[in-house]
Point group: C2
Amino acid sequence: MKIKFLWPGRTKSQELRLLQEDYLGRIGRLAACRLVETREARGIPERHRERILEVEAQGLEKHLTDDYIISLFDQGKEMASEEFVRFLEKNGSSARPLTFMAGGFLGLAERLIRRSPTLLSLSKMTYSHELARVVLLEQVYRALTTLKGKRYAK
Amino acid sequence: MKIKFLWPGRTKSQELRLLQEDYLGRIGRLAACRLVETREARGIPERHRERILEVEAQGLEKHLTDDYIISLFDQGKEMASEEFVRFLEKNGSSARPLTFMAGGFLGLAERLIRRSPTLLSLSKMTYSHELARVVLLEQVYRALTTLKGKRYAK
């Protein structure tokens, strides 16, 4: 299974970045995995929402080829952990990379949402975009431990 | 508003503990808030599930008086962030403390679940119990910033 994580900008919270690195290391022991932190829109006032999303979409698109895209989206589908395991098993068996894409603090541009065959919501609650990254990584790690029959320290 | 967080044992992941402290500090600037880390069952083999839950339940119960209890429970109710804000507003206005209770890695004893007027599920997905604590704190902080009309850095 090839797994890619794609999001604009480096995670700024130091603690969340450490957790991110920890989960990436653990995932990397169970599957081919990489993280690409793409260009982040900087210095554009927040009221220019569309411009920020456009700059970040262009950065993300450079790293998408024939990937199977799963985008984090608050109106996406919620899956229970077991359902998420089956989803990874079903869609991660080909050579095509599974790419988890997450937006910056304004989310993802509309056309990236439309391009994603799977839209995943982690919760009915809204998480900060950096916390959402860590929750996503934990879920992917948890699912892989189940798939590989490993015990996951709760 | 008086908010209490109650769970057995100290959060072991250093990064999650730092995030926990950070959110507690931020929440404490918006409401009276404290965390009580109660007795954790130690040295009992995991197969003795009921004994572990019983030891931890007794520790938690010592800190419950007339509190309004909201327990984290995977079969509980999911709330969108806006709904959670309204919930806090409605239930946090009296002198009665709002107590968020979370279990250890095996969850909470049945009788604590039955005693809780509100059972809250953070997600359809299962989170590690330490990550769930941080997600809960982030949501409480987020809700308070909305109630207090502050801007929350996404």
